[in-house]
Amino acid sequence: MKVLLIENQPADADLARWALLKGPYPCDVEWVEKLGLGLERLEQGGIDVVLLDLGLPDSQGLDSVRRVQAQAPQVPIVVLTGSYEDESMAVEALQEGAQDYLMKDGLDGKVLSRAIRYAIERMRAEMELRRSQTELQTANLKLEELLAVKESFIANVSHELRTPVAVIKEGVGLLLDGMTGPLGEQQIKFLRLVDRNCLRLAEFVSDILDLSKIRAGRMWLLRGKIKLRELIEEVLKESQPLMGKRVLRLEGAQARAVLGDTGKIRQVLTNLLSNAVKFTKDDGAITLSIREEGEFVTTIVQDDGVGIAKEDIPKLFQEFSQVGEYQERGTGLGLALCKSIIERHKGTISVTSEPGKGATFTFTLPLYTPKVALEEAFKDLVEESAKHLGSSTVALIAVDCENLSRMEALEELEKLLRPQLKNGDVVLGFDLKWLIVLTVADTRAVRAMSGRIRRVLEEWAVTRLGARAGEAVPIAMGSAFYPVDGTDDAHKLFSIAQDFAKPVTPEKIEKKQILLAEDDPSVLEVTKLRLEQLGYDVLTATNGEEVLSHFEGHDAPDLLLIDLKMPKLDGLGVVAKLKAVPQAEKTPIVAFTAYGEELKDKCLEIGILHIVKKPLGAGELLDKVRQALGEKEP
């Protein structure tokens, strides 16, 4: 073994060398007195192990260990420590990466040799371990890549199939509907066969796409309240023709509603039921039961049919598994899809069975609470907004219906609001007092929708409640935005929306006009929306020049709301310039700024009487605006 001894005390060095020479293993010892020389020697290579003293003239303690490691990371280090006090440092040296430490007093040839050999072995083992880990990581990455390619391939092929299937279906449809002339019986028979198989093909493609999307986490669930018992009764009624003489039982009291996508859960129920029917004899019995268990509702589909062999049970929920009697005719996807759907709903699904004694499928779904429904819907939309290129906002619009005396009002309003929403938006009832609308779009589109909603509410108030123009109505509306309002907690956003909620007031004939000057586009849109909701007409400017030009050709606005820090012309400068414009004389100014007291004096100097600190709180904004306009509290 080639040993490099880095030790500055000649006496200690002698001891070490003598111990090694006397030791059982042949060693070649090279000795240097300084770390620098040691590092140079290491650079030349060929050293198997370093014996390192921690108290060297040109380096101390752990620093020595680090520098040796940096120079030769594959060479093990055994640290030599001279006295009692040095032991703690030696232990730290181990943590730094040294393989071992030895006390200099009583250096024994055997002990030293053994320490060195073990140090070399350990180092080898460590290197081996690191290499295997890297290999594993690379293999994993490769696997993930392949998985992604597979999923993408499946999805692409499936999409591609849909158009030709549609064309075939329509082509056959034309023939069967007599649009190409009369058909003979045989022709009709086989055209129907083609049509049926088209349908199967289409369903198969749909299932594959469903499955691949769910697995990629991209399945869009339209979550709402599901009354499971009612849904089951519906599905049972639809499946009547398949039942034959089988006995069907539905047990369990009316459970509370669960949170889920009705269409998808219906798919699961239909699937489980059709399996049960397929594999029970004509006079068999199928029992469905539901019950509440803690935070979940459990549904059980039990049949007394053929049953499933024990070894087949684990494979049951895997896709494309052809498992004995329970195979899906042809597709092998049904149960895999069910599992994916239920798990995406944060529920569980399982099966127990014995051959000859039937099978019992059990799945659970979480109870519906407005709180969870709000959180989940919001999460879905945030995910959706992340997929949009460019800026995109998730808006929470809260409609306060607490003061409406009629219970049905909430439902009526919900029905009215739905057509105003675009695909993917959500409206939820909350606590019997609120309607919450969640939508994702860019801020401009959100403002447009918000306007539409307000108009719908105003109209409803006028026609159903007999409200008059200019009168506030017992419905209030407020909004909050992610990310502008600074939180991604749905409940906090709801609070913010509630804070900003102001009564819906059917069109006032004469609206006061506010010129809003703000350079941050998101803050601009949100503030504009809020002012409009409060019943003002809002013009905007994004820099000082635009502000000034608003006073030049137009009638002066009733109020100027200006951000003091803007590009091109700083806010204070603009106001100063305005004071020289005769049209602007009568216009009150409200300035908002993130800066504190420093600017207050400057503002008062130029005649800005009202200052609001950013971020703009709801009450503050309205109060200052009203104050500046000389309006009274309603």
């Binding site: 064309v167 329509e170 034309l174 190409t180 749909s206 695909n423």
Partner: protein, 122 residues
Amino acid sequence: MPKKILVVDDEKDMVAVLLQRLKAYGYEVASAGDGEEALRTIKKEKFDLIILDIMMPVMDGTELGQILKNDPKTKNIPLLFLTALQTKQEHAGYDIVGSDVIFAKPFDIKELMGKIDEFLAK
């Protein structure tokens, strides 16, 4: 006067089967193989409804839709979109607004014709 429908789709076979049925139902029909051809045709003739496929090369259905909506001469023509993508939600990002409707392929022809009747009755 019979109502006029324009079908825009780069799939010639799809256009063929749709035109056949629409004609049988008594509508006057025309077709275009891509967005640009559609715009040229729309300039020359007046249509009561437009069926358009979303996935088309060069200019996709939603782009065409936006152009039509932004032009005062065409913004009130009802649009009916066809897609091979799974659900309407996947098109949420396209901001197809209001009464426009999307049908996923393969669609139920009775539903499609029903929707057309609905639009044209207004």
